[in-house]
Point group: none
Chain length 425, copies 2
């Protein structure tokens, strides 16, 4: 198996003016090819430092993939420095030179000397065509290492890689022919440490598939990656490990792949054409804004209220004076009436409500993070749920919205006939 290193050459990346998204693209492509990427390096347009980076990379990687520094200006130095380092000459690639001069002939513009520089390639390298620019790409092997040179602009680099570079790498690897398959599982309602604890032995013993947990925004995801000689074998390895994980913490899994809690809930609502309305206090429109994010949501989203002030809850939404006086606005009773009232007022089948304390101040004696969510569905008893989150205002608001979508997910899963939406991986 090859070990690759991706080396981006460009001071603009080190200045933070652009992000090294080329490395992301190439890493993903190489993972699919079964090439291990062990390092990304970014170095500026500086001959001495680039030379140093090449030497370090040769010592630890088999395949060095360079992006950037192939342009016509004096700060473009990648092929010059590498040629010098390898003791090779730069030579004109005639087909490439013809392509460049043809362009200038057709566009009736004068061709400058530095345009010709872009047709120079390292002697002995396979030339990679650039269908979207002038800089030629290169691939060569010298000593123990292989070198690939790609242009910096993603609009040139990506098509060059897919069309011309990828087949070369695949061919150079055909001894191994390893299939890599990945799968992502999304969890909500369980912390990363708890999950890691439950799966400690699987994490400890992992070899193939590998297993990694990532936490972000109150969620955890697990990525499984398997390698095998065939795709079927790799998928089978993933299925086996997934089954073991689901067996332990399956109740917290809400989806696979490129999805979110809101996506899953909204897809179900759309599929079953269940109309919805919302009454929000502490979340102040965040839940409804998330609905509004989806094209086509007007099929099911009726509308709602942001009942920030207490008297808006009472006068506009119609929560009873009695409940507010007796139980307060941070209460299950208030959440219940909010959900029911908004459902009726908006003539929806489902009404959801959010009331509680975002913080930083306490409210009615309840600390920040105290949140009640109500869910009223025509024909069912209204549910209310109490959550106690943390101290951070915006954490509490976003967390509450996620929790709302999760309650909808749960409700629909339990109350609706099972449908064939399990294959969305």
């Amino acid at each position: 198996m090859k070990r690759a290193e991706i080396i981006a050459v460009g001071t603009e990346i080190l200045m933070g003016q652009i992000t090294n998204s080329n490395a992301t693209f190439l890493s993903r492509e190489l993972a699919e090819l079964g090439v291990y990427v062990y390092f990304h390096t970014v170095v500026g347009d500086n001959p001495a430092r680039l030379r140093e980076v090449i030497e370090i990379a040769e010592a630890r990687s088999d395949l060095l993939i360079f992006t950037g520094g192939l342009g016509p200006t004096p700060d473009d130095i990648t092929k010059q420095i590498l040629a010098e380092h390898l003791g090779k000459d730069l030579v004109i690639d005639e087909p490439h030179l013809k392509k460049i001069s043809d362009y200038f002939t057709i566009s009736k513009r004068p061709m400058t000397e530095n345009n010709k520089l872009q047709a120079l390639v390292i002697q002995g390298s396979a030339v990679l065509k650039n269908d979207f620019g002038f800089a030629a790409g290169m691939f060569l092997t010298s000593g123990r290492s292989s070198y690939m040179l790609l242009p910096g602009p993603p609009s040139e680099m990506k098509p060059m890689f897919k069309e011309y570079a990828r087949p070369l790498i695949a061919a150079s690897m055909n001894g191994d022919s390893i299939h890599l398959e990945s799968r992502i599982l999304h969890f909500f309602g369980i912390g990363e440490s708890k999950l890691a604890n439950d799966l400690a032995d699987l994490i400890e013993q992992q070899t193939n598939p590998t297993l990694a947990t990532y936490a972000s925004d109150n969620e955890v995801e697990i990525r499984l990656t398997a390698s095998a000689r065939t795709q079927d074998e790799a998928l089978q390895l993933l299925d086996n490990l997934e089954a073991e994980i689901l067996c332990r913490d399956g109740e917290f899994v809400y989806g696979y792949g490129d999805t979110t809690l809101a996506d899953v809930a909204i897809s179900k609502l759309l599929l079953h054409h269940i109309t919805i309305a919302a009454a929000e206090s502490l979340t102040a429109g965040l839940f409804q804004a998330e609905l509004g994010d989806r094209p086509g949501i007007s099929e099911i989203f009726r509308g709602g209220m942001v009942t920030y002030h207490t008297d808006i809850k009472e006068k506009l939404l119609g929560v009873s004076h009695d409940v507010i006086k007796r139980e307060g606005v941070v209460s299950a009773a208030c959440a219940k009436e909010m959900a029911e009232q908004i459902r009726l007022k908006c003539e929806a089948q489902m009404g959801i409500s959010f009331t509680g304390v975002a913080g930083p101040e306490s409210l009615e004696g309840h600390p920040p993070g105290t949140v009640f969510i109500g869910l009223s569905v025509a024909g069912y008893a209204t549910e209310t749920h109490l959550f106690t989150f943390g101290r951070d205002r915006n954490h509490n608001r976003y967390r509450a919205v996620k929790q709302g979508f999760q309650l909808i997910n749960r409700f629909l899963e339990e109350k609706l006939p099972k449908s064939a939406d399990k294959n969305a991986r």
Copy 2:
């Protein structure tokens, strides 16, 4: 002047699952501080390779900034490997441990052993607080090198850097006694190319201060950075250049530094205690959610409605049947009534409304991007404004919200007595 290297630790970056955007952020911040970033490195969660990377970095850089690998799971190894490499112990940071255990007490969830791991820090390091997560940051100097450890999730890393790490780096550099001062000017309502064109000579001739434009989210910002032997001199350089810029495009500047259009508008509303309510269609709660973002907003935010469906506009909000039938919901007349009705219904001094076509479909014959915003203020004639944005659904929604805040800004600027809020840089 210091030479820095940014080292991201995480196999997920090498797999192409996430992009190393942390390096972009840090590079920009360090450039502002006058620290040269010569290398970015990404390495996986692998002890041997991380050790190797540390050794290489120590040989070529003065300041090693690590991101990632500070979590509670076994594949989080950054501080463990660095401590071992430096021959230092990991010790519990008591304030940090208390913060973690407080969280679990408040949220009534059990704290697992590996949560405690996140309170471990390298002996002798300054601990950087994490206001948005559990992983403590660290800064220490040992031998010829300084080491900074930051968490991987950008939502934790960025505020930690700005709040706690940046001042430490700035202080550690005062040997050079060059004062760097930066100033950020925010523009709304002018495109980046137009602005760059207006300031072409200033951009061309820039040396000190430097001047860079950045476009994002329908806004443009200009960052000026001056260096001088004293702070006063640096500030004077900034003042001179700023005056020239304001002279040319001052009408589009809405604020300075770490602010947003919404911040500026909300601060003014709070200052003058003007109560507000909103009726939103295409924005579906985004505007109100932005209000809800601010602690203390309940002083002035009454509440509002999301009138997504037409009959909600009519039945719940009270837009007249006549207007909807004659002019449609995508109309100035509808925006006017929405703003007026929500102001009256919520007993607020200011009512704002958003109605239009988010897309991708047209509505009532209007193409996506057609947006009407109404602004009704007690004692003033109601304003309505028509905007024609682009084709992208979410672009249109976010753009509309910004435009709403800008209308509020303009209204308050024109109608309110000038106040002394000019110094908020």
